[in-house]
């Protein structure tokens, strides 16, 4: 019996030792890599390491719908047209573009560009890419591109893009993630699955390795058409836990860390060789009202009282650690159609709010309403609720887990108010306002204003930029009076960086590796 016991023990121990040595063998080889490739601070000039909270979804730019994916993918895939850091359109893979008629645009393509596998870039790639995203309805970017009817290859370096109607937003669409140009021949030869495992683009960095939820490794594309890239290697690390991300920055494991919590800002600024950099991002936190008849928020006086009762700057200072810009419009500068007179300003007057509420016929605590909010904005919502209660409202706060919030959002089943941060990947006012058009607003806000409807419908197809801009500015002025929504503030991206790199965050939250440069020593 004794002997048998020992056999069992030894087998267990042996198994543990074997497994451990197996891990050990593997780790040694990765260690060697780390030394030669240099992920540490010693070789900061050749490797750039960036930490984000979420991983990319895949290397399919057409089937991705999150900013952190695009932030990585822009280094691998190019667009026909690029946004520079001020959101102005500049040449990418297309060198020039003209509008032929209301529904046709002609693009001249850059010659001599090759994909990472050596294939030349031609109009066939543009045709394949844009028709794929425009026609496959299961792709996550399809809704942005489905108005493209056809892409005609006029010759190897000229394409005509034809839309189903006048589309003033075509250039905006072509400079966002779903328009990342894919290699038609490579995909035709090897299949899409092989492409996803070994993706190939025309961008400044080539795919090297992707360990899901850990890191994406890119290496320099020596043959990049726009000159030699700055870094030998660019590593995107995924670190979901904010305090770990901050620690990694402090310990020198990463050069740039995104989404720094406001509570850690002072800690990073206190370090001599670390910096905090901020930039406004495309997201405005706002309260959207239901104006259905019978709803308490259908009364313009009530909506005005809500606006006046909230101290927006106070929320920015207390909850966001100062990382926010108050605004009375959601179309912020850098977006087409912005009205600067409503930016960097807010209204706050508790006394008047109380008075308005009385005028609307509600005694203290009678104006009862529910604010639904996703858990990520819980703190902001709590402060808003407290401020409203101070002004005499009775608030039921309905904090929902993110996916539950999304479901209620898409089924349009919120009560009086929902609080949401809305981004704008098209950099155009239409993205902010389409929800207030009669058909879209049905069941959500039930907003209905014929004048606004006319302006929005016209702007949707207006090919004269100057007139179109006026239309959106008019809508903003009406909204600032009517308040179908109350805007709290435009959020700012907060990044921590190693003082050894120069990094100016972009409002679109992209990480163009070549815009981040080592500080000269």
């Amino acid at each position: 019996m004794k002997k048998r016991q020992w056999t069992g023990l030894w087998i267990t121990l042996l198994a543990i030792v074997m497994v451990l040595s197996a891990c050990g063998g593997k780790t040694t080889s990765t260690n060697d890599n780390a030394v030669t490739e240099g992920t540490g601070s010693g070789s900061a000039s050749t490797t750039l390491t960036i930490a984000a909270a979420t991983d990319i979804e895949s290397f399919d730019p057409h089937n991705n719908n999150n900013t952190s994916s695009e932030a990585v993918l822009v280094n691998v895939f190019d667009y026909l047209i690029k946004n520079d850091s001020e959101q102005k359109k500049v040449a990418g893979l297309a060198t020039s573009w003209d509008q032929v008629d209301d529904t046709t645009w002609r693009f001249k393509l850059r010659e001599g560009v090759t994909f990472h596998n050596g294939d030349p870039f031609t109009s066939a790639d543009v045709k394949y890419t844009l028709e794929r995203v425009a026609k496959d309805e299961t792709l996550k970017q399809n809704s942005y591109f489905k108005n493209i009817v056809e892409v005609k290859a006029v010759d190897d370096y000229t394409v005509d893009i034809i839309t189903d109607g006048p589309d003033p937003l075509l250039l905006n669409r072509l400079s966002k993630m779903g328009a990342g140009i894919l290699p038609a021949k490579y995909i035709a030869d090897k299949g899409f699955d092989a492409f996803l495992k070994q993706p190939v683009g025309t961008g400044p960095y080539k795919f090297s390795k992707w360990t899901k939820d850990d890191r994406v490794e890119l290496v320099k594309n020596e043959n990049y058409f726009d000159g030699e890239p700055k870094w030998n290697e660019v590593v995107f690390r995924v670190i979901p836990e904010a305090s770990t991300r901050v620690s990694e920055l402090l310990a020198g494991g990463v050069d740039v860390a995104s989404s720094i919590p406001s509570t850690d800002i002072a800690r990073i600024e206190g370090e001599a060789d670390k910096k905090i950099v901020k930039a406004p991002i495309q997201r405005v936190l706002q309260l959207i009202f239901r104006q259905t008849e019978g709803s308490i928020t259908a009364d313009p006086k009530v909506r005005e009282a809500i606006d006046l009762a909230i101290d927006k700057q106070g929320i920015v200072d207390s909850i966001a650690g100062g990382a926010g810009i108050v605004t009375r419009t959601s179309v912020t500068p850098g977006n087409f159609g912005a009205d600067p007179s409503l930016y960097k300003t807010s209204l706050y007057d508790q006394a008047k709010a109380k008075q308005l509420l009385q005028e609307a016929g509600y005694a203290e605590g009678e104006a009862e309403m529910t604010i639904s909010v996703s858990a990520q904005y819980k703190e902001q919502a709590e402060v808003v609720a407290a401020m409203l209660e101070q002004a005499g409202f009775k608030i039921n706060l309905d904090v929902l887990e993110a996916s539950a919030f999304s479901e209620r959002y898409s089924s349009k089943s919120f009560k009086e108010i929902f609080m949401i941060g809305i981004g704008n990947s098209l950099f155009d006012a239409s993205n902010n306002y389409n929800r207030y058009m009669l058909e879209e607003a049905k069941g959500e806000s039930d907003y209905n204003n014929p004048e606004v409807e006319k302006l929005l419908q016209s702007a949707l197809v207006n090919m004269d930029p100057a007139a179109r801009e006026k239309e959106y500015q008019q809508v903003q002025q009406i909204f600032s009076e009517e308040r179908p929504a109350v805007y709290l503030y435009q959020m700012e991206g907060v990044y921590g960086t190693n003082a050894k790199v120069n990094f100016a965050p972009r409002s679109d939250e992209m990480f163009y590796a070549d815009e981040i440069t080592p500080v000269a020593q």
Binding site: Q5, I16, N65, R237, V238, E241, S243, G253, S406, S410
Partner: protein
């Protein structure tokens, strides 16, 4: 014995069937993946198209029958997020979680065996009190808090160990230690009581009275018998390590099964949640059977009928 194993294997089937049903229903009543997949500006029409493309417009039982049919063939569907077979994604992550679990177990044994034995031998002394105190603290300390503290101490202040990620052996130390401590605390107490019981047995007293040295008796006679229940506990704990490292993996950005599951739940990636829970269920069931078998091998007095 062979009959027992066969019977246990057959019992796996209904267990896994029930697990699959529960997960399937829970995942479907808790949210809408379509809403998370589409941009904020998508129209109702876009949603309808995608819902149909994913087969989510069909009645629940039709979806379940379809799911079960493919699951039997090892197909748990495509992950929405990664657009890749879910089972493949889950299996890709297993080695990382397994590595962490083994290393945690290693740390736990390394700490618990000497502490447990010393504590039993020196029972009711000051040393025993200290060890018991440490193990109570170890058991009570939340994983995530300890992880963050260890990062601050060893990575940020001392700079001797990497903060996060999976790489060399050095990356393994902090997360494995974090996970191992709670386990070690439990094992220390188990070893202590098991040793105490044995030290009071007649054969130990006999050995001592024969004039054998104290150390010889403890190591050769008491220790090997005292370890039997510990081995059993170890295998049981191992399964909970595989499935339950969510928090530690998130704190240390360890790309294992736990982290995959957390992201999948957050993004409502149903296929991954189903596949991951299923795989964890298989591991738990199989390990339980192996434990029973091992236990029986170690102690023939135990019978299974």
């Amino acid at each position: 014995m062979g009959k027992y194993v066969l019977k246990s294997l057959l019992q796996i089937i209904p267990v896994l069937f029930i697990v699959s049903l529960i997960v399937f229903i829970l995942v479907r009543v808790t949210g809408d993946p379509v809403a998370l997949m589409l941009p904020e500006t998508a129209t109702a029409e876009d949603r309808a198209v995608l819902t149909q493309a994913l087969g989510l417009d069909q009645p629940l039982y039709t979806q379940y029958v379809k799911f079960l049919g493919s699951a039997i063939q090892g197909d748990f569907g495509q992950s929405f997020r990664y657009n890749q077979p879910a089972l493949e994604l889950v299996l890709e992550r297993l080695p990382a979680s397994f590595e962490l679990a083994v290393a945690a177990m290693f740390f736990a044994v390394l700490m618990a065996v000497p502490l447990g034995v010393i504590s039993a031998v020196k029972r009711n002394t000051f040393t025993d009190l200290i060890i018991s105190g440490i193990s109570v603290i170890g058991k009570a300390m939340p994983n995530f808090w300890m992880g963050i503290m260890l990062i601050l101490l060893f990575s940020v202040m001392l700079g001797v160990l990497p903060v996060s990620g999976r790489g060399g052996l050095s990356h393994l130390i902090l997360p494995a230690f974090t996970l191992g401590v709670g386990l070690a605390a439990q094992m220390t107490r188990l070893i202590r009581s098991s040793m105490l019981e044995i030290l009071n047995q007649d054969y130990i007293r006999t050995a001592r009275s024969k004039g054998l040295g104290r150390m010889v008796v403890i190591v050769k006679h008491a220790f090997r018998n005292g370890l039997i229940p510990v081995v059993t506990i170890m295998s049981l704990q191992f399964t909970s390590l595989i499935g339950g490292t969510l928090i530690t993996e998130t704190v240390f950005s360890w790309p294992g099964l736990g982290q995959l599951l957390v992201v999948a739940v957050n993004t409502h990636d149903m296929a991954i949640v189903q596949a991951a829970v299923f795989v964890i269920a298989v591991i738990v069931v199989v390990t339980n059977i192996l434990t029973d078998v091992a236990y029986r091998l170690l102690d023939p007095r135990i019978k299974y009928d």
